[in-house]
């Protein structure tokens, strides 16, 4: 099948108005806010070397924070601010999606605007500033009529740089709940859908180029005193904004929002939940690619209405428990604790997605390893890889303690690449997920945990506080409870990891319902 006849291009295109519109809105809002803050600061500090140096130092430090981290940092910060305003003024706001993304991106845009603004203003021939004074201009008139116009080319270059950075970095705002062209990239990377990854990259690159060219047109127009060019550039930007507003005007309430974390199983399950709600006549959309630290807060705050989490994850991350209880007891405790926050634990889906130590079946047999206890004897000559959070999670500490595990080396990896890495021998052992379809695909084995160091990770369905008494919602979801066993989920995940049209989360969700619905 040729690359271009792939039906996933059509699927990607269908998402474009939504993703592009949100991307443009958050980028331009961030840029506007960044300019509104940075330009006055550049003007105010142009003759004050000390504050200028401090300002530039701060902006440079902000720039060194990776975009993903900066965006992620704003979420807890705003959650805190929202709880403060709620306590003091009785009003709260959503710390999810647009606001944190816009603020973080605005901060990100400041360095080039500040630096070029200050350079541009300081680079003006002092004789001209003297001349401005000499012909009778006030300081303000000198700024507006002489200094700013002369600094304009350098300032515009900074604004263009900022625009390109912001549009590029906005793709990273997906995990904090802001829909963007990054949704293609995150979803594509997680589900091995390279069409989506390419589409997202090209779309954001084209958008950045287009905005850069339009700003260039405005810059050229201002520089050559050509009203036509300036107007054309400004009209282009305005048209871009207007075009992105159209889809939102037409779209009424989003209805129920189904959240999903950033891995394939979650994409599939959120598509399944959305389909079930829609089948029950409830309007629903999926908001996928949310960071695992963001998603629970988003549910609690009502920014999303439901999602699937795992009992062990909540046990450790939300209840901050380090003890390990039997499966049923842990679920009961969890349900009680969540109820205090008005979160409904509707029930289990029927499978567990736990961490497991995984290695190739042949190697395990050759070494006579069947359990983690057997592995401990060989660990000192082996390397282990885990996802980005595994080695800082309590399970890892518990495993090390229970079995006296000590590996030669440990590495962090993108979860999708771990299985191939262990299969090819690049690492010896990985901390994989029990429901992952790749375990079967690569002929790997998940080791038993006889000392129960790893807590149970039942997939559970959570509902937001505002949906606590929503009978129609709960009735639509109940048919799923207890119906998805580990074998079915593994197969669904394996399908989702393929790189063809049948491997999209929507297609896999339909397949999954076909299997589950019969039961």
């Amino acid at each position: 099948m040729s690359l271009f006849s792939d039906p996933r291009w059509g699927e990607a295109l269908a998402h474009l108005p939504d993703y592009l519109g949100n991307h443009v809105r958050v980028s331009l809002a961030a840029l506007a806010l960044g300019l509104a803050v940075s330009l006055p600061l550049a003007i105010l500090t142009r003759n004050r070397p000390a504050p200028r140096a401090i300002l530039l130092a701060i902006a440079s430090i902000v720039q060194t924070v990776p975009g993903l981290a900066l965006l992620a940092l704003f979420y807890p910060l705003l959650l805190l601010a929202a709880s403060v305003t709620l306590a003091w003024f009785g009003v709260s706001f959503s710390a999810f999606g647009f606001l944190p993304a816009m603020l973080a991106l605005a901060l990100y845009s400041m360095l080039p605007v500040l630096r070029n603004g200050i350079t541009g203003l300081n680079g003006i021939d002092p004789a001209l500033i003297e001349a401005a004074k000499g012909v009778g201009m006030t300081a303000r008139q000198s700024l507006v009529m002489v200094e700013l116009p002369l600094a304009l080319p350098v300032m515009m270059a900074g604004i263009r740089t900022a625009a390109v950075w912001v549009i590029g970095t906005a793709t990273l705002s997906t995990p904090i709940g802001q829909t963007s062209l990054g949704n293609y990239i995150f979803a594509g990377l997680q589900t091995q859908n390279w069409v989506f990854v390419l589409f997202g990259c090209f779309a954001s690159a084209l958008l950045a180029l287009a905005v850069d060219q339009l700003l260039g047109l405005i810059e050229g127009g201002l520089h050559r005193r050509s009203r036509a060019r300036t107007a054309l550039g400004a009209a282009g930007i305005a048209a871009l904004v207007a075009a992105t507003l159209v889809p939102t005007v037409g779209r009424s309430s989003q209805g129920y929002v189904v959240g999903a974390k950033t891995f394939a199983e979650q994409y599939v399950l959120s598509a399944l939940l959305r389909d079930r709600l829609q089948a029950a006549g409830l309007p629903a959309t999926a908001r996928s690619g949310l960071g695992s630290s963001v998603i629970f807060g988003a549910l609690k705050a009502g920014d999303i209405d439901l999602y699937v989490d795992y009992s062990g994850t909540l046990w450790a991350n939300q209840l901050h428990r380090t003890d390990i209880k039997p499966r049923a007891e842990l679920l009961t405790d969890l349900k009680t604790s969540l109820a205090k926050d008005n979160i409904t634990l509707l029930g289990e889906l029927g499978f567990e997605n736990a961490y497991a130590l995984v290695l190739p079946k042949k190697r395990a047999e050759a070494l006579g390893i069947r359990t983690i206890a057997d592995l401990a004897a060989h660990a000192s000559t082996m390397s282990i890889a885990g996802d980005y959070e595994f080695f800082s999670r309590p399970e890892w500490a518990a495993l090390q303690k229970a079995y006296g595990l000590s590996f030669r080396a440990q590495r962090q990896m993108q979860p999708d690449f771990m299985y191939a890495a262990v299969a090819s021998g690049e690492v010896d052992v990985i901390a994989g997920y029990t429901s992952d379809g790749l375990i079967a695909k690569y002929d790997l084995v998940a080791l038993d945990d006889p000392r129960h160091a790893i807590p149970p990770y039942d997939a559970i369905l959570l509902l937001a506080p505002k949906r606590a008494g929503d009978e129609r919602l709960q009735a639509a979801l109940r048919p799923l409870l207890g119906k998805i066993d580990i074998a079915t989920m593994r197969e669904a995940n394996l399908r989702a990891s393929g790189n063809d049209a049948n491997s999209s989360p929507d297609a896999v969700a339909k397949w999954l319902w076909g299997k589950v619905g019969e039961r």
Partner: protein, 260 residues
């Protein structure tokens, strides 16, 4: 009967750190006079000029413009009523010739139509072609044309006093000569008071009514060229000797001919 004073410096001092740029200097300039201030670099002559329209503030002493102490006048209003010609033009590179010339009337809030008419009149006065030059940017002008625009800009708000900071220094000799002559006739025609800074004694002798010689912030001598030649100051005499020696050498080197 001495005419009224246009500018008066009384015991004026100005220091930049340890350097005394202007040192207890007194000088009166009558209305309608053309005074040249001559001195080497670092003599304080530019500082003296800038003190008059408060581009620089005095440390001590009093400066009056048309009888008013400059310290009691709003500096912006003061600068709008005094024409100032900058060294090498000081034209705003992003503004057209017409916008450069019309800048001070615009700041004073004059109607656009009046400004346009005034710009055309001034282009004529400084002998630039209206239609060819009005909408050009300064970068498209020659050095001499730029300085003509600089003069036109200084005259735009009909000032009675014009300050000129080495206005013709960077020009080629022919342009310089023509521009000097043209300005001299404008000065007379418009009844201006002009203070011009120059390091060139020949230019000062040819254009000014009166010459003030500065050195190290002090006024060494002042008077008409003839009066200066009676000075007992060695530096002043040395300054005057240069043009004279040049004339003698030129006369010796160039054959006298009636071809001119």
């Amino acid at each position: 009967m001495p005419s009224k004073l246009a500018i008066s410096y009384q015991h004026v001092t100005k220091s930049f750190g340890p350097l005394k740029a202007v040192d207890d200097l007194s000088l009166d300039i009558a209305e309608g006079e053309f005074v040249a201030i001559v001195g080497g670099s670092g003599s304080g002559k530019t500082t003296l000029l800038r003190l008059a329209n408060r581009l620089i503030e005095v440390d001590g002493g009093i400066i009056t413009i048309e009888g008013e102490n400059v310290q009691s006048v709003d500096p912006v209003a003061l600068r709008r009523r005094i024409g100032y010609v900058f060294q090498s033009g000081g034209l705003f590179p992003h503004l057209s010739v017409a916008d450069n010339i019309g800048i001070t009337p615009k700041l004073l809030g004059e109607p656009a139509a009046d400004i346009a008419a005034r710009v055309d009149e001034l282009l004529g006065l400084v002998q630039l072609d209206r239609n060819a030059h009005r909408s050009r940017l300064p970068e498209a002008l020659s050095g001499g044309q730029r300085q003509r625009v600089g003069v036109a800009r200084a005259l735009a708000a009909r000032p009675r006093i014009v300050l000129m900071d080495e206005p013709f220094g960077a020009l080629d000799p022919l342009t310089r000569d023509a521009l000097g002559d043209d300005y001299r006739s404008l000065h007379r025609k418009l009844g201006l008071t002009t203070v011009m800074i120059t390091h060139d004694m020949t230019e000062a002798i040819l254009l000014a009514d009166r010459i003030a010689v500065m050195r190290s912030g002090k006024l060494l001598a002042q008077g008409t060229p003839a009066e200066l030649s009676n000075s007992s100051d060695a530096y002043v005499l040395e300054l005057l000797r240069t043009p004279r020696r040049q004339v003698e050498r030129l006369n010796a080197l160039l054959p006298q001919s009636g071809a001119a």
